[in-house]
C-alpha cells in the first residue's frame, strides 16, 4: 500500500540506522513496534516513504534505575514490559503509568514501544501524558550526537515533535520522584477502539504537613494539537492542604488552562465538564496512593 516502498531495513547498530536515515532523508521512516506506522500506511499517508528502518534489533530494550531513584526506559521497551516492571508498579509516584497502560489491548501492549508512543506526538496517547506528569525527558541520538529534550519541549504540534530528521529516541528518563509523591491517570473514551475524548494525568507531592508542595496537571485527548500543562490548576493546589477543598479549587481552575475541542465525540462544554471531574478524581486517587 505504501506504493513507492523500496526496502525494509533491519540495522544492527545505532550507527547503521543513522546512516540509513541520512541516506534516505525524508523518504525514510523509523519503525519500532510499527503499530502507528501501519495506521499511517492504511490511511495512505506513507506514499512518500521509500525505506522503512526497523530499529527493533538495536538492543535498546529494558528498564533500569538511573542514579538516585530515577528510572530509564529504553526506547524499544514494550508497553507490556513497562507495566510488568517492579520499578514502576511498586512505586506510587509512577501510579499514572500503570493507569495509562490499562487501556490498550494486549496485542498493542505486547508490540507498541515507549519510544514509538512518544515519537508519534499525538496528544491522544495515554502514556506520554503520564510521562509529562513525571517531568520525563527524551534521550535522542543523531549520528554521534546525544541530547536530552524535556518532554515539556518535545511536543510541538499534532504529529510533530522536536526531533530532527534522522534523530532516534534512545530512552525516556524519569527523574527520581520527590518523597511523598504519587500520580494517577484517567481517560474518557466512547469505546475501546475510538480515540480519547479527554485524558488527565496528575502528580501530587506533599510536604510533611500534608500540604501540596508541588504538582503537575496534564491534559490530553481533545484539548488541541499537543498536551496541555494546566498551570492554573497547579497554582490552585500550591501550598494548600491536599483534600477535597483544594482538589475542587484545582478542578474549577482547570477550565482556564485549555481550549476544549468540539467534535462528533463530545462538545467543548462536555470536555470542560469532564476535565473538572477527572482532575478531582485523579487527584483523589493520587492522594489515596499516599495513604
Amino acid at each position: 500500500m505504501a506504493l513507492n516502498l523500496e526496502d525494509y531495513f533491519l540495522p544492527a547498530s545505532l550507527q547503521e540506522a543513522s546512516t540509513l536515515l541520512q541516506r534516505y532523508g525524508d523518504g525514510a521512516m523509523v519503525v519500532a513496534g510499527g503499530t502507528f506506522v501501519h495506521g499511517l500506511e492504511v490511511r495512505g499517508l506513507l506514499t512518500e516513504t521509500v525505506a522503512l528502518v526497523d530499529i527493533s534489533r538495536l538492543g535498546l530494550r529494558g528498564i533500569s534505575e538511573s542514579g538516585n531513584g530515577g528510572v530509564s526506559l529504553q526506547a524499544l521497551t514494550t508497553l507490556a514490559e513497562v507495566g510488568a516492571a517492579p520499578l514502576i508498579s511498586r512505586n506510587p509516584a509512577f501510579g499514572s503509568i500503570g493507569d495509562a497502560l490499562q487501556y490498550p489491548p494486549r496485542q498493542i501492549l505486547n508490540v507498541g514501544t515507549v519510544g514509538g508512543c512518544v515519537a508519534a506526538a499525538a496528544p491522544l496517547y495515554d502514556l506520554p501524558a503520564a510521562f509529562l506528569a513525571l517531568d520525563g525527558q527524551v534521550q535522542a541520538s543523531l549520528a554521534a550526537r546525544q541530547r536530552a529534550i524535556p518532554l515539556n519541549d518535545f511536543f510541538v504540534g499534532l504529529f510533530e515533535s522536536a526531533l530532527q530528521r534522522g534523530e532516534i529516541i534512545t530512552a525516556i528518563e524519569l527523574p527520581a520522584p520527590a518523597a511523598r509523591s504519587a500520580s494517577a491517570f484517567l481517560k474518557l473514551e466512547t469505546n475501546a477502539n475510538d480515540l480519547s475524548i479527554l485524558n488527565v494525568a496528575v502528580r501530587l507531592t506533599l510536604d510533611k504537613d500534608g500540604k501540596c508542595a508541588d504538582s503537575r496537571v496534564i491534559l490530553g485527548g481533545g484539548v488541541g494539537e499537543t498536551y496541555v500543562r494546566a498551570t492554573s490548576a497547579e497554582a490552585a493546589l500550591r501550598g494548600q492542604t491536599a483534600g477535597e477543598a483544594s482538589f475542587a479549587a484545582a478542578a474549577a481552575a482547570v477550565v482556564d488552562d485549555f481550549e476544549a475541542v468540539e467534535d462528533h465525540r463530545a462538545s467543548a462544554a462536555y470536555r470542560r465538564h469532564i476535565a473538572q471531574v477527572y482532575v478531582r478524581r485523579t487527584l483523589g486517587t493520587a492522594l489515596a496512593r499516599l495513604g
Binding site: 516502498l5 533491519l10 510499527g34 501501519h38 526497523d54 489491548p105 496485542q107 498493542i108 508490540v111
Partner: protein, 156 residues
C-alpha cells in the same frame, strides 16, 4: 521482492515478499496458513492474532520483514503436531464457545498467552485479556467459560 526466513510453528520457511507485506498477508496468501483470519486489517478486531516469541500480537499490523528470526506461532501450531487438540481448542468445543468461528482462532491465540502467564485467571482477568478480540456472535459468556475450563484443566 526480498527473501526472508520466517520461523513458524517450529519450521523455517523461506519466502519472497514485498517490503510492505504484513505477517498476516504472508501467512494467508503465501504460506496458506488460513487459520489466522483477516477482519479489519487495522488493529481493531483481533481475529488475526498470532503469537510472536510467546506474546499475542495483531499479525495485520506487523511487517513480515520485521518478524524474521522470531518464533511465530499460529493456531495451526497449537496442540501436538495436528493429532491432539490444545486444551483451549477442546474447551472451546465443549463449552459451545464457537458460533460462526471467525473470531475463534484469534481468541484462542490470545487466551493461550494468558494461560501461559497466569494460573487460574479470574473472570475479570480473562475479560481484560481478550478485550482486543471482538466476537460478533457469542456474547462472550461461553468464550469466558471455555477459557476458565481450559484454565482449570491446565493448572494441574
Amino acid at each position: 521482492m526480498k527473501t526472508i526466513e520466517l520461523l513458524i510453528n517450529g519450521a523455517t520457511h523461506e519466502v519472497s515478499i514485498e517490503a510492505d507485506e504484513t505477517l498476516l498477508q504472508v501467512l494467508r496468501n503465501r504460506l496458506d496458513l488460513t487459520g489466522t483470519k483477516k477482519g479489519c486489517d487495522s488493529g481493531g478486531c483481533g481475529c488475526c492474532s498470532v503469537q510472536v516469541d510467546g506474546k499475542v500480537v495483531y499479525s495485520c499490523m506487523m511487517y513480515a520483514a520485521g518478524a524474521a528470526g522470531k518464533a511465530i506461532t499460529t493456531i495451526e501450531g497449537l496442540g501436538s503436531g495436528g493429532t491432539a487438540l490444545d486444551p483451549l481448542q477442546q474447551a472451546f468445543i465443549e463449552a459451545g464457545a464457537v458460533q460462526c468461528g471467525y473470531c475463534t482462532c484469534g481468541m484462542i491465540m490470545n487466551a493461550s498467552e494468558l494461560l501461559a502467564t497466569t494460573k487460574n485467571p479470574s473472570e475479570d482477568q480473562i475479560r481484560h485479556a481478550i478485550a482486543g478480540n471482538l466476537c460478533r456472535c457469542t456474547g462472550y459468556t461461553k468464550i469466558v467459560d471455555a477459557i476458565k475450563l481450559a484454565a482449570t484443566r491446565t493448572a494441574g
